[in-house]
Symmetry: C2
Subunit: 388 residues, 2 copies
């Protein structure tokens, strides 16, 4: 039997990897009265009078909707909502196993951003939070922006905030290792999809002030109409000179301290790395094949290489962020996953390693301190914020 057969059998066994669990037994008329009618009438009446109690007495106070339209699945592209389900179901499994968070996989049709927003809003009373997954840019920006504005529960897009948080965490420790300062380092972010843009924007917001965006066509500038408004807005914010239009990665990599790739296999060459400043830091996060082979990168002089793969040291994996993040959000009542909050999470993740090294800038996904470290940081942040 092949490994693929083994995986299929495993997911077929229970029809997926999740079940609903009943927290109460119902064996008698008395049980029934408490768990169902007439007992639930008492709770329904109470919620009718005090809507905020919904989150205290129903599953909606703890259930995260893990929503995908399957338009941008890692390594597979636009495979549609049905084929996107295994990914969100797998993430829901991780939520439960790693952080005891209840999450339910939801596939949403690939409608317009407004229609997806409307659909999610229409069922949002059922949930304590929205985790968006694998939705292609730029639609994902519009969907998340609108949901964040209109819903009173946390909204999080793992491909954006999750990746941005873990990259920032890794970068914080990487800079400690090479002894450089955030405000000094020059950073190229290669790839301006959801994750590249979110990462660049978070880095900028927390004080990294020398960022250049690049994609397959070259440097992103503010007046280039081949880019969407989220991309040109970022280039404008970062002060990218318009004359860099048309320059390629190899033209601008010289003198950079950090390369962050959220793009494609093998787009960073040995020669590129050799042009970078001393002690170059490489995040080669394309999956399954990174922007540069880590060994090639190190041979060319890279001090630190991180990838998305568990095959190499320094695995940048969103699993480090979302379970603890939502645990913290639900425990603290925090609702906006803004730059400040992302920074708190990234710092908490970075701080888990007391002595980071070139081959350990980020904790392992199985490090038992991760979920607690992240969620505690958010609980403390909420306490501090409320005191102010």
């Amino acid at each position: 039997m092949t490994e693929a057969d083994d995986i299929l059998r495993l997911h077929e066994k229970y029809t997926g990897v999740l079940d609903i669990k009943s927290d109460l037994g119902v064996h008698s008329k008395e049980d029934l009265g408490k768990a169902y009618t007439p007992g639930v009438s008492i709770i329904s009446k109470l919620i009718y009078q005090h809507p905020e109690l919904k989150s205290k007495y129903t599953m909606s106070g703890k259930l995260v909707a893990l929503i995908t339209d399957g338009s941008a699945v890692l390594g597979l592209g636009n495979i549609g909502p049905a084929a996107g389900l295994p990914v969100v179901e797998g993430k829901a499994l991780l939520y439960k196993n790693l952080a005891n968070i209840n999450a339910i996989p939801i596939a949403v049709e690939q409608k317009s951003a407004d229609e997806i927003v409307e659909t999610i809003k229409n069922v949002s009373l059922s949930f304590a939070g929205i985790h968006l997954e694998d939705i292609a840019a730029p639609k994902c920006f519009e969907i998340e922006e609108k949901l964040k504005k209109e819903l009173d529960i946390p909204v999080y897009h793992d491909d954006q905030e999750g990746t941005a948080i873990v990259v920032l965490a890794g970068l914080i420790n990487a800079l400690k290792v090479v002894n450089k300062k955030p405000e000094d380092v020059k950073i190229v972010v290669n790839g301006v999809g959801a994750s590249g843009l979110a990462t660049a924007n978070l880095l900028w917001a927390v004080g990294y002030q020398r960022i250049t965006l690049v994609d397959i066509h070259g440097v992103v500038t503010s007046k280039d109409d081949q880019y969407n408004k989220y991309q040109t807005d970022a280039a404008r914010t970062f002060g990218t000179p318009d004359e860099l239009k048309g320059q390629q990665l190899s033209d601008v990599i010289g003198g950079q301290d950090v390369f962050i790739g959220l793009s494609d296999a093998n787009v960073l060459t040995k020669e590129d790395v050799q042009q970078m400043n001393d002690d170059p830091i490489i995040f080669a996060l394309a999956n399954p094949v990174p922007e540069i082979d880590p060994q090639v990168g190190r041979d060319a002089g890279a001090k630190i290489v991180a990838t998305g793969s568990s095959e190499y040291p320094n695995q940048v994996n969103n699993i480090l962020a979302f379970p603890g993040l939502f645990k913290g959000l639900l425990a603290s009542g925090l609702k906006q996953v803004d730059f400040n909050l992302q920074k708190i999470v990234a710092e908490a993740l970075a701080d888990i390693l007391r002595h980071p090294g070139a081959e350990e800038i980020i904790p392992s996904v199985f490090d038992e301190r991760v979920v607690g470290g992240v969620s505690n940081a958010l609980i403390n942040y909420a306490k501090d914020t409320r005191k102010e």
Copy 2:
């Protein structure tokens, strides 16, 4: 501590009464590879190529969405989607406890029928079936009709089909007890909301040919514009003479064999019962106070009285229908909850009692034969249907 406190504490303890359960442990890189990436990629690719495999390898093949807009909650009326949640959560608990069915409570905003249909369609790939609950008539008719037409999974409205099925089951046995024939008995259905209309229509469809619809304003006739089209259509189908317009329940109850009340407390009088045919059968299903006190009914000559309450014999409760029904639907692959299928379920329910009596026309909700009896009947029905 009062009983209400006790119920509140019970529902607060776990934040509601349900949890998500993980079916797999994730303790190693190997586990992670099987339960999440890269393992899920194999399943995503397979579903992309063969969409029908979604139901085999993801939770969507077994998960029932239990959807309410809280516009017609039993005994409470229109309390809104948030306050409607405890009821659907309670039903999801019963699904799990009684039939091991995985159901998830969903509150949907009170939008137009078309918007609710669109919202449900947009997330329907996530589910193996739709159970609608507590949605007011006539909107519920339109929503269910459209969803049944447009979705390829079973759609069921408990307040309609559930009630209709259990009433029919009780009536089948009641007629055995009084030794009357379906085609002979005259039936008044009092109350023409979702459940009254669905019950009348099912009875008609399976051969009860002498049905009169009545509501608080009197007999429903086909040309009375105070009724919606679903109500006047039914009156037309049943051949209700137009000249009965304006006649009240007390004007038409004389000579009836069966009274089925899905209306309000105490609307059926002792005198009404006395006017009925020999061995009158009374379904007084208003909640929490029935259309007539069972003792008063029996004293007035009723041979059989059923209510919705567990305080009296013959409790007509939808719990007898939905767990076994969905167990059978999911096991058999049947998709249309049409009159035929409702009849199969009702007959299976009735047949569970081998010797029905005046005080036992319907099994108890704790009768352990109910779920298996109903689901087996559907599995056999599916086998028979496919053979034809």
